[in-house]
């Protein structure tokens, strides 16, 4: 072992390999905050170094776990004591920005927010956005095919990536740094790696697609008194705002009331008596036009009684305060710790029935349990937190059944945007059919025959097939 680490140290230099307490001081799971157990953490500064490190690991049959910003929710970055962690934290450079082609080339360790700000510098925007923007990295966004709050307008990470560079299990480098919007020359290999959660290769660089900046934004928080109206409101906003609808984020009362009145973390802009609250945002180009269209859209929704009350942010300071309620995941974690977290997809029309039934089934077993729901309604994506006051393995199995089983019947997905990691791998068959899973396994076998990359993640254990 020491010979392997010694050889790696010769590649990356003494300061770029951490051992012992320096590794223990880190945590790969921000919810449990458990220490990182890996035997060492290596942080290469270039694709060349990483390629050499992987070649050494391949030769020594050394399993590796890749670390980005560590904001995941499915334990995809957890490492065992005989794993080696590859952290991309020293590969954070924005290599080039092309305002004409609308592309940005970046190393995988760069935080999302750094990329967003670099795009803003040239009057463009990088359209992926999520609450963890300050910590999560582009590599992690790619590996998990991240979603977030702008999917309704711009799609997921997959839609923002033009090209990739990947280091494979044996250390070989596949560069597919395409910067063309159109390129149908054979298989588009990048899509194999996007969303593969580090199990097929390690993403080192990417060419990202930029969008024109939408400098005019308008934001409202509205209250809805029924789910039917909520659906009606979504349709109404899509129609009246056209392409300008930039976010439609729903908070069930359970979430909104908890984060405002019940905890005092935020002043409630609207009273907490309605069943649904929606943060609606439009993104346009012209300040006056966008503002006028938005106000008209909200006003006509009010006149049609699709919404019962609304506040419109009169400044970006107010906009930020409204978003702070929706994005206060730290607060949610604190208020209902410990909790089970789920990220599910289902058809919008099924959501209300599903959530109501879930609440009933959970409370049948734990009458005081809290079921807290919010999500990206327009994307058919809900985030469900369940807290019974404690967390144990037996309980986890029961609650996962309560959440996932009904999804199978209605064709939902156990992971909308968080990925599979360790947490959901043995439920993969709920959302993927045996043919799909078999092909995934074949692919893994070809790409990583020794099973070194993020082993034990994404794909179900063989015993569970």
């Amino acid at each position: 072992m020491d010979t392997l680490l010694g050889a790696i140290e010769r590649v990356v230099g003494e300061k770029n390999i951490l051992r012992g307490e320096d590794v223990r001081a880190r945590s790969a799971d921000w919810i449990t905050r458990e220490p990182c157990l890996a035997l060492a953490l290596v942080r290469p500064v270039s694709v060349g170094q990483l390629s050499q490190v992987m070649a050494l690991c391949y030769e020594a049959d050394q399993p590796v776990v890749t670390h980005g910003g560590l904001t995941g929710l499915v334990r995809g970055a957890v490492a065992a004591s005989n794993d080696l962690v590859i952290s991309l934290e020293r590969m954070t450079e924005i290599e080039s920005v092309d305002p004409v082609g609308g592309t940005l080339t970046v190393q995988a360790g760069a935080p999302l927010q750094v990329v967003q700000e670099a795009a803003e510098q040239i009057g463009m925007q990088f359209a992926l956005d999520l609450g963890a923007r300050g910590s999560c990295t582009i590599g992690g966004n790619i590996a998990t095919n991240a979603g977030g709050i702008r999917v309704i307008r711009y799609g997921m990470m997959r839609d923002q990536v033009l090209g990739l560079e990947v280091v494979l299990a044996d250390g070989s480098v596949v560069s597919s740094m395409n910067n063309m919007l159109k390129n149908n020359a054979g298989y588009d290999l990048k899509h194999m790696f996007i969303g593969s959660e580090g199990t097929l290769g390690i993403v080192t660089r990417a060419v990202l697609k930029l969008q024109p900046q939408q400098s005019a934004s308008q934001t409202a928080l509205v209250a809805c008194d029924s789910f039917e109206n909520l659906i009606g409101l979504l349709q109404h906003m899509r129609q009246t705002l056209g392409g300008e609808l930039g976010a439609f984020e729903v908070m069930w009362r359970s979430y909104y009331a908890l984060l405002t009145e019940e905890s005092g973390r935020h002043n409630p802009p609207l009273d907490t008596s309605s069943p649904f609250y929606v943060l609606i945002e439009s993104l346009g180009n012209d300040q006056a036009e966008t503002a006028q269209r938005f106000e008209q859209a909200i006003t006509s929704a009010f006149e049609k009684e699709l919404l019962s009350d609304a506040v419109i942010a009169s400044s970006d300071a107010q906009r930020d305060r409204l978003w702070a309620i929706r994005e206060d995941i730290e607060g949610l974690s604190e208020l209902i710790a410990p909790r089970f977290v789920f990220d599910i997809s289902l058809s919008i029309v099924d959501m209300n029935t599903y959530v109501n039934a879930l609440e009933v089934s959970v409370r049948d077993i734990w009458p005081d349990a809290k079921v807290v729901v919010f999500g990206h309604l327009g994307d058919g994506n809900l985030h469900v937190s369940i807290s019974t006051g404690e967390v144990n393995e037996e309980m986890r199995i029961i609650i996962e059944d309560l959440v996932y089983k009904p999804l199978q019947a209605i064709g939902g997905s156990i992971s909308a945007e968080h990925g599979i990691g360790i947490k959901k791998k043995n439920h993969l068959n709920i959302s993927r059919n045996p043919g799909e899973i078999a092909l995934m396994m074949k692919l893994k076998e070809v790409m990583d025959p020794k099973g070194l990359l993020n082993r034990g993640k994404v794909l179900p254990d063989k015993t569970n097939l």
Binding site: D22, A25, R26, R90, P111, V114, S135, E330
Partner: protein
């Protein structure tokens, strides 16, 4: 040219920001007269005469001026203004309160918080919260100016030899009255407004080792902060968190100890004037924003720093 410079003081001692205003005044040029208006403030005038570069000190000593109420102080300054081409003072809260009144009563504009002197009538001042610097030119016969003290060096407080003239005019406007004040204890200022902040991160290792940080903070009169990692690890409570999801601070001096420098932490402190980073990992991103970096073991550095301050 002749300049009237208003002294900042607490009726006991001259506040050093006044010495920075003197530098600005000397860059404008001409004779400088310093006005000490207060109550039982002879000792301030005695300090003032020693300040380098003054030709005269005016002492207006009356109970009316004890708290520097804007209505009375501005009336006094306007009364004296006729003899001067410039009226200037460091932008303290007393001066920010009173000086625009002086300008209005003289029917001239005010130049707020200048950071540079280009000539006797042209100055540089920050606008848009310091995101742009404007060069501005005054057309008025009398220039009323407040000075951002941190932008100018201080003149020597000793060595001058000005004379004291007593001013006996008293303006009591009678419309405002001092009721009470609550001055913050200087030993541990509030994080958001502190002039110096020292923050600890994951590298502190434990709640106990924050004591090391607190001892240095006590020496500096600094507030103690923390990174989110330190809060998450349970070392300190989350009201100490500096960063995007915590408090945004912009002190004169920010010392980051054992903090790697995640972007959400940087968002909370990068506007600080001087940033010091102490970390054993020389590759930590915090060094990229630090003015002064010290690579080493914080458990050795902090006690040494405390001893040497």
């Amino acid at each position: 040219m002749s300049i009237l410079l208003i002294a900042e003081h607490d009726n006991n001692k001259l506040n050093p920001v006044t010495l920075s205003a003197v530098t600005a005044a000397r860059q404008i040029g001409g004779e400088i007269t310093m006005l000490v208006a207060g109550s039982s403030c002879q000792s301030v005038a005695n300090d003032a005469v020693k300040v380098m570069g003054l030709s005269k000190v005016l002492l207006a000593d009356s109970a009316v001026y004890e708290k520097g109420l804007a209505e009375s102080l501005s009336a006094l300054i306007v009364e004296l203004a006729a003899d001067y081409s410039h009226i200037i003072a460091a932008a303290s809260s007393t001066i920010k309160d009173a000086m625009p009144r002086v300008a209005a009563l003289l029917d001239v504009g005010q130049l707020t918080e200048i950071v540079g002197v280009e000539s006797e009538d042209t100055f540089k001042r920050p606008i848009y919260a310091g995101n742009a610097i404007a060069t501005v030119h005054s057309h008025d016969a009398v220039k009323v100016i407040t000075v951002r003290a941190s932008a100018f060096d201080k003149v020597e407080a000793e060595g001058g030899n000005a004379s004291i003239d007593v001013v006996n005019v008293v303006f009591d406007m009678g419309v405002s009255r001092f009721v009470s004040e609550a001055l913050l204890k200087s030993d541990r200022p509030e994080l958001a407004v502190a002039n110096t902040v020292i923050s600890g991160g994951r590298g502190m290792g434990s709640a106990e080792s924050f004591n090391l940080l607190e001892k240095v903070a006590d020496k500096l009169g600094a507030a103690v902060g923390a990174s989110r990692a330190a809060v998450d690890a349970g070392f300190v409570s989350n009201d100490l968190q500096v960063g995007q999801t915590g408090k945004i601070v912009a002190p004169e001096l920010y010392i980051a100890v054992g903090i790697s420098g995640a972007i959400q932490h940087l968002a909370g402190m990068k506007e600080s004037k001087v940033i010091v980073a102490i970390n054993k990992d020389e590759e930590a991103p915090i060094f990229q924003v630090a003015d002064y970096g010290l690579v080493g073991d914080l458990f050795e550095i902090l006690p040494e720093l405390e001893a040497k301050l």
